[in-house]
Amino acid sequence: MATELGPTPVKAPASGGTPVHHAPKGVGEDNKILSQGKWAAWLLAPTVIALGIVIVYPIISAIVMSFQKDAGLDPATGLFTAGGSAGIQNYVNWLAQQCAAPAGGTVACPPGTLGAQFWSATTTTFFFTVVTVAFETVLGFWMAMIMARTFKGRSLVRAAVLVPWAIPTAVTAKLWFFIFAFEGIANKLFNTSILWTGSEWPAKWAVVIADVWKTTPFMALLILAGLQMIPAEVYEAAKVDGATAWQRFRMITLPLVKPALMVAILFRTLDALRMFDLPYILTGGANNTTTLSILVINQIRQGFNSAAALSTITFIIIFLVAFIFVRFLGANVVEQSGATGKGKK
């Protein structure tokens, strides 16, 4: 016991001593860290407040509104009266395409109401996203490959390629509106008489063409940045080893440009999911070119609270897509850094 007790008091001061000994330094560091942290927190506060006001507040406000009923009409006075709490009815109405019935309760939304367009608008939005991003990726890659080469007038080409991206979307849309008019350039050029904005598929393709024309340069630029990160030596070494052009592209260019490419695709996908101005001006949402954003704007004029519910749904859809993408991307990044880490070891 004594032997056991012995070391304990010895150890105790020792073990207690270590912290005591380190205490002044440790506390000093803590204080320093603390005061630095405090300082940093105060410095960050304005940003946090600003973000709170411009991001958190509107989102919370929209979500609160989405659980309220839209104003109804008092038949006696003809004045609007507050709708009161709606629970999740607004969300149910959108997802199940239910509308208020004159006799009370709900019925399936008749064609001609915004409620009847929810799923078709969702489909249209995803159609536009998948098709435009696919085209833009392929064309953008091709343009980036050309711009990455050294040739006479390269800077001129790079500047010229950026022109469509620099034009405001509303202007682009009006431009293509006239190009796709019946007496417009598109029909004159190809000697056709297609009603571009007058039926479903031509209208959809008109939107896709205009969007690809406008946004491919953005894609090309992001990919170009990725391409220029690849050192020339890698290609030279591959050439010495006798790799063909296709092999060099597949084994060197593609894997090395992938991180930049994925970020570019993510950006464009999120952008395309909230597409609004182009179809709104080009086709007015006619012939099944109404996207979710157009539906939200139309609904705002008919009732804020339903519109808030719809925009929350849209927000969740976009958020989910972004989440899937980032998870997918993030996994890739981890894998790569792990691989390089192993290599270094």
């Binding site: 609160v64 104003a71 009409l73 003809g78 001609g112 007496e183």
Partner: protein
């Protein structure tokens, strides 16, 4: 101890955000409710400076009038707040300010189709009793467009009605009825041009054209109580006229993409025999160098079932905000802006159609705007677009279904019953 201190600024931000959102929640509730706005009995005798709100003053009509008023009323000066030239943006701007109960929007210029919505929200001062104005000399349809549930909420300021433009070199006498016009389409065919066009692209213009077709055939979109009344043979006949004309090719197939400008260009380049459009086309078609129809242009009232048809009504009304503190000044200014002198100025300076019947036969005005006598017939017979506080939903219901019906994707009967149900659903409130 450490953590709270460290988090203090962040927590402050958080609390601030929460407070704000709490306010926002309250605001959201109020906006959602839109419960009968401000006090219509307050500020009736208030006098002082006021603000007048209107969309972009493109032809410089408002500024000279405001300057004239200000010179005569140094203690009740009017500030002109100019909005953008986009109707949707003007609408949303007014909604935002009224929702915030802004006392700074004293007199506002509202499109005829917004009047019912704003009145039902309780934002517009009823123009009765102390605030009453004399509408005796004004054309009745324009007064109707400012009336909601039997009360006048807005004073007619300018008006607009449809005209039928025709090629007088090919058609010596204009058609009086729709059937007569359709029978003249053989002339168009002989000359290898399109016969008739209006605005059939899916947008506000289609609501105008479709309601015109329905009203001209004796039907109506809404009945007197604001309930949809589209399940009638008259409404069916009206919409069928358009659908049939499109199927026959009497409305050229590109007509489905026409808005005002595209249809004007088609007519002006000589590719159409008849065109339904607003009076603004007249000046362009007779003066523009590129116009192929300069000396071949005739105007007539739009055709109906048995005589002149019922045009949809355009134009703007003036209203006083219930939140205004100086309603007496506002009312005086409103009367000034709708006086005969001002009305004449709108016509001469901005080519805007006056609301006073007498001005349509005024010699000076007719010399400048030769279409005025025809336009008077058009406006006298006009029917305001459906007067409903749910107008945005009503116009969408009409556009969506009329578009399908004209293109032949949906039988006219189904389109009308869908239209009926959609409007009923909007009115049912949610």
């Amino acid at each position: 101890m450490k953590t709270p201190k460290f988090l203090l600024p962040v927590a402050t931000a958080g609390v601030l955000a929460l407070t704000l959102s709490a306010c926002g929640g309250g605001g959201g509730g109020a906006t959602g409710g839109g419960a009968a706005g401000g006090d219509a009995a307050a500020g009736l005798d208030g006098r002082g400076p006021i603000t007048y709100v209107q969309g972009k003053d493109n032809s410089n009509v408002v500024r000279p009038l405001v300057a004239k008023w200000n010179a005569a009323h140094p203690n009740e000066k009017v500030t002109f707040k100019e909005q953008t030239d986009q109707a949707d943006q003007q609408h949303d701007d007014i909604v935002q300010h009224f929702q915030a109960k802004d006392a700074g929007y004293d007199v506002v210029d509202v499109d005829v189709v917004w009047t019912a919505e704003f009145a039902a929200k309780g934002w517009l001062q009823p123009l009765k009793d102390k605030m009453a104005i004399d509408t005796g000399a004004m054309l009745k349809p324009t007064v109707d467009s400012g009336t909601y549930k039997g009360t006048l909420y807005a004073a007619p300021q300018t008006s607009d009605g449809a005209l039928l433009y025709y090629r007088k070199d090919l058609v010596p006498t204009p058609p009086k009825t729709w059937d007569e016009m359709m029978s003249m389409c053989s002339i168009a065919k002989k000359n290898n041009i399109g016969c008739y066009a209006g605005q059939f692209s899916k947008y506000e213009g289609l609501t105008v054209n479709a309601s015109e077709a329905i009203n001209s055939a004796g039907g109506s979109v809404l009945d007197k109580d604001g309930k949809p009344s589209l399940n009638t043979p008259e409404a069916k006949a009206g919409l069928e006229n358009l659908a049939k004309a499109y199927a026959d090719g009497n409305i050229p197939k590109e007509g489905i993409t026409f808005q005002e400008e595209l249809s004007r260009q088609a007519f002006q380049s000589g590719k159409l025999l008849f065109l339904r459009n607003w009076p603004y086309v007249y000046n362009l078609a007779t003066t523009e160098g590129s116009s192929a129809v300069k000396d071949k242009l005739g105007i007539a009232p739009i055709p109906g079932a048995t005589g002149a048809g019922a045009s949809s009504l355009g134009g703007h009304n003036l209203a006083v905000s219930v939140y205004s503190k100086n309603k007496a000044t506002s009312l005086d200014f409103l009367k000034f802006m709708t006086s005969e002198e001002s009305e004449k100025f709108y016509a001469t300076q901005g080519s805007l159609a006056p609301v006073l019947g007498s001005l349509y036969t005024d010699k000076d005005l007719v010399a400048k705007l030769p279409y005025l006598p025809v336009l008077k017939t058009s406006i006298e017979k006009a029917v305001p677009r459906p007067v409903s506080p749910f107008y945005p939903a009503v116009t969408k219901a009409i556009q969506e279904n009329a578009y399908s019906a004209i293109k032949g994707e949906k039988p006219v009967d189904t389109a009308l019953s869908d239209m009926q149900k959609s409007i009923e659903s909007a009115g049912a409130g949610s």
